[in-house]
Structures are given as structure tokens and as C-alpha cells.
């Protein structure tokens, strides 16, 4: 049985690309979210093995979403996706509970490295 993933990003393009990378590597995408609020709700509903979370999203941002998810489930495995130049926010994300981060634009090898390390 493969690991399940919840993909969170407000851009369809990003979600599509990331889902493709993960699916090709054998992961199962069980849900997508385009706002922080939906990301938290979907996490509670689906309890995925892994979450990829974009930082910049409308309604509730990614870092706040991570904080809520981790407070709901301390074992939550979240990988943060940030755009180049958002290094400061990455620190915030880790402090909020994210386990690792990848930088956009996605390099498949780097994405899978981070993800494999997080799911163990």
C-alpha cells in the first residue's frame, strides 16, 4: 500500500505538477486544497501520510495551516513548498511544525528526496 498525500497549493498548475511527480514515484494523491482553511479541513477528514503545503495561499496562509494541522495531530508530516526568496518564511514554517521544505520551481529529485525522508 502506497503512502497517501494531500497536496495544498492555490495554483492548479503547481498542484498538477507536484501530483504528477509524486504519483510517478508511487504515492497516492488522496486530496487537494487551494486554501489554508481547506487544507486543515481536508487533513482532518483524510488523515494523509504526508502533506505538501504552499506558503502563499488565500484565506489562510500555509504557515498558519501547518500550525493548526500540527496542533490537531502532532505526528503530522508536512513538507513546505516555498518560492525562491522566501527563506525567512521557511524558518517560520519549520517552527510551526513542518518537517522539511522544497523550493519552487520543483526539481523532481529534490522533491522526492524531501518527501522520502519525511515519510521515513
Amino acid at each position: 500500500m502506497s503512502h497517501t498525500v494531500l497536496v495544498c497549493d492555490d495554483a492548479v498548475f503547481m498542484r498538477t505538477m507536484l501530483s504528477d511527480i509524486l504519483q510517478q514515484a508511487g504515492f497516492t494523491i488522496v486530496g487537494e486544497a487551494d486554501t489554508g482553511t481547506k487544507a486543515v479541513a481536508k487533513y482532518k477528514e483524510l488523515r494523509p501520510d504526508l502533506v505538501t503545503m504552499d506558503i502563499v495561499m488565500p484565506d489562510m496562509g500555509g504557515i498558519d495551516a501547518v500550525r493548526e494541522i500540527v496542533s490537531f495531530d502532532p505526528g503530522a508530516r508536512v513538507v513546505m513548498c516555498s518560492a525562491m526568496g522566501q527563506q525567512a518564511l521557511v524558518v517560520d514554517a519549520i517552527q510551526a511544525g513542518a518537517k522539511d521544505f522544497v523550493v519552487k520551481p520543483f526539481q523532481p529529485s529534490r522533491v522526492l528526496e524531501a518527501v522520502q525522508r519525511v515519510v521515513g
Partner: protein, 516 residues
Amino acid sequence: MAGMSLDLSKYVDLFLSEGREHIAELTEALNEMETTPSSEDAVAAAFRAVHSIKGMAAAMGYTVVTERANAMESALDSLRRGDAQVTPSLLGHLIDEADELAREIEAAVIQPVPEAVDGAAINPAPVATAAPESARKVNTHVRVRASRLDALMNLVGEIEIARGRMERDLARINDEQLASSFESASRLLHELRDQVIGARMVPVGQVFERFPRLVRETARTLDKEVDFTLDGADIELDRTILDRIGDPVMHLLRNSLDHGIEAAAERERDGKTLRGRLTLSAQREAGYVLIRVADDGRGIDRERVLKRARELDLVDHDASSLDDVALLRVLAHPGFSTASSITDVSGRGVGLDVVDAAVRILGGTIEIKSVTGRGTAITLRLPLSVAIVRSLVARVGEELFAIPFTHVLETLALEPPASALDGDSWTTTEISGSEVGVVVLGRLFGLQSHVSERMQGVSVLARGRRAALVVDEFVGQQDVVVKRYDPPLEGSPMFSGATVLGDGSPALIVDVNSLI
């Protein structure tokens, strides 16, 4: 992880369609900033739009777009953080930049996708066999509001009814030219119908893809070991039908997990594989889609069902067994449930009857096959499309009828004129100062209906004329699925279709036009 490659050519169309949407969002946000310079939401929205464009362009290797988007993002970020103010000149600059950005997005997809700078393998995409014109034909997807698809389908339903009426009217006229013109128009309408139906088709996977997870969790709760397979996820079904069978299918899955598949220990004793098998499959068959939930569990306990059926007086008391057809009829009876303990999974009294009602409303049927000790398979046979007409449901005598809302003006209480009380089915009366035709449906349809001094009526409009239809009472209003109705060959038919209401009762759909 060596050998992983990303074929960027797959994403060109998505980049273009999403890029255009983000440009639209950006433009809207900038317009908002022009009228309300202090709007923080507008600045945030503009920032996000540009940020997304930057991300996509960077992923695709479109450096020109990336750089411009990056510059705009910095400017908007300063505004966002309050380090700068929205001034007319800054705004003018951002608007110009947005226009340039839009142009560069269109231009970017016409050039070949460049190799990645960092060595990750990317297949360079020969983008469009580009026409010299910069306008590139892309197979873009368009977002359409679901309500618009429903409106289209509604119209298709109405057009079908109108077309049928025209066909009958034309049959009385012997004009070859007219007949041939009508046939061409008919064919076009039919094609239009097919296209609309096609537009509404979605793969069942869209709803079914959440089931594997739910099945796993339910199995865990019930302490059952189950292998779940989903077949035919890309079989397509009308989105309305798919929406409405999601819950019933989940219910069937829960039933299999709860009552069908045995605990591992019991399976072992019976010489079965330790893990139960549960399958959800979709397949096409002629004009239908078959959705099947099958398990290799203990099968339906016919004895218990028969016992309970006797208690509820649903079968002859000397019936010794139930065949599959009778079994279905009994199980589908409202409120039937043989659960000896209420588990929180199946609930009380919520049984196959709910699934059956849902399927019948959609114009479909259910089939059961169950073998004691071996398993159960329940098949939902669903039509490919639904024509839906919102209607008023009225009772006339013992029968129910649906009156499409398109004709309804209002409902009212009437005092039928004396001639109606005497036995006429047609008469006139005065309503709000004008003379209005009155049709006593009970008489017209030849039903047992008592006309009293105060009756319920619905004021309708058809062919520019008003009339009042007299009924016994109004039962409610609902979306009614139109099923084909072949009218009697002679005389003008009074009904345009037939349907099954929410409670399972059949109802004829009144053809208001032909009544007036």
C-alpha cells in the same frame, strides 16, 4: 533519485490557461486598487496572482515571464507590507507591467521550452507546430459554473418536449418540405442534446476516488480485513447522477463491510481467504452505466430477511423462500432493516430502500445477486443522462401529476364556477377582472375526483393564454426527471413525459400547452 524526468510539454496548456486566469485576477485586483487605493485585499490578491505566475513560469523555464513577474511581485510585496503606498503613478506602472506580462505569457508558449539550468532532466518540448500568427490554438479547458450546465440540461429537456409536440403536430400536416426541414432541425437538436450531455459527463473516479480511504477507515473501525478494488474509474457518468449516487454507493460499501464480509477468524473457519474482497466497479452497457458493489462475504441471510418480511406482512405467510427478485423487493421496502444490533456504521432502518429510492428517482434500477456463504453483488443500472424539469406536484383523485414550473404563474384557491360543479371539465371564470379558462383536471383525466366549492388551482400560462388548472391538493415541488413517454396514437396527448417522484410514486408530467 536518478532517472526521474519531468516532461514539461504536458503543462504548456495548463500554464496558458492558468496564466490567463491569473492575469484576469491581477487585472481585477489592480482595478480595485484604482477605485479603492487602501484596499488591502486587492493588494493581497494582486500579489498572489503575480506570485503564482512567477512560480509557473519558473517551473516552465520561461525566464522573461519569470523576471517580469518577480519584479512586480517585489513591488506588490512592498505595498503589502506597507513599505510603499499606492499612488497613481505606481498603479499606472503596475497596470502597464500587467499588460506586458500578459503578452509575454502568450508569447512564451510559442517558443520551445528551454532545457533546465540545474541538470534535472527535462524533455524539451516542441511547443505548437506554431502558426506564423502569434495566436496559438490551444486545447484549453474552460471553467463553467455547475448551475449553467444544469440550466443547459433543463433546456434540453424542454426542447425534447417541444420537439415531440412539433412532431405530433406536423404529422397532421402533409407537407414534405416542412417535414424535411423539421427532420434537419430535429437532427441538429439531437446533436445539441448529445453535446450537452457530453459536457455534463464526468469520470466516476471524481466521486469514487475518496472511497478507498473511507473503506480502509471503516474496515479498521469494524476490525475487518479487506482488500478493496476500484475498477472503471474513468467510465463517465452525468454529473448530476454521479452526485446523487455517491452516498448510496458509500452506503452499499458500508453494508458489505458491516454485514457482508466476515471477521478474519470466521473466514478462516469457513476456508476462505483471510482478507475479504470488496470491489466497486463501473462499466458501460448500451445506454447505461452499471455500478457494481460486490463482496465475497457471507451473503444476505435470506432466512432472517424472510422472517422479518413475514413479520412486516410483505410476503405470503406460506412463502418458503425468496428468490433474488423477491429479495430485492423486500429489502427495498421503506424502513426495512434486519440489523440485530445498531452499529454506528449502518444506522437504524437505513437500508437498501434508501439506495433503491435514490436510483429510481434517477430513472435507474437495482439488481441483487446473493449466494449464502459466498457473497453479494448489488448492481445499479443507471441511465446515461437525465433531463430535469422543476415541477409542482399535485394530486388529482388518487393520482399524482407534475406541472412544470415553466408554465406556472401562481397557485390559488378557487371557487369553481357552477358549470364545473355540474360536471364540465372546461369552463371559464373571472380572476382579478379577466376571464380565465378553467380546466378541471379530475374530470379531464377521467379520475375519481370530487369537485367541491373550494378547490386548489394553479394559474398557468401557455401560448400566451392564461388558465387555471383545478386539482385536489398540492403535494409539493421538486426536480422531476423526465422519462420518455409514448403518447397514445390518437388525439392530442395531455402528457409530455412520465417520472418517478421522490417517494417512488409514478407521476405523469402535464403538457400544459396541449391543455389550453
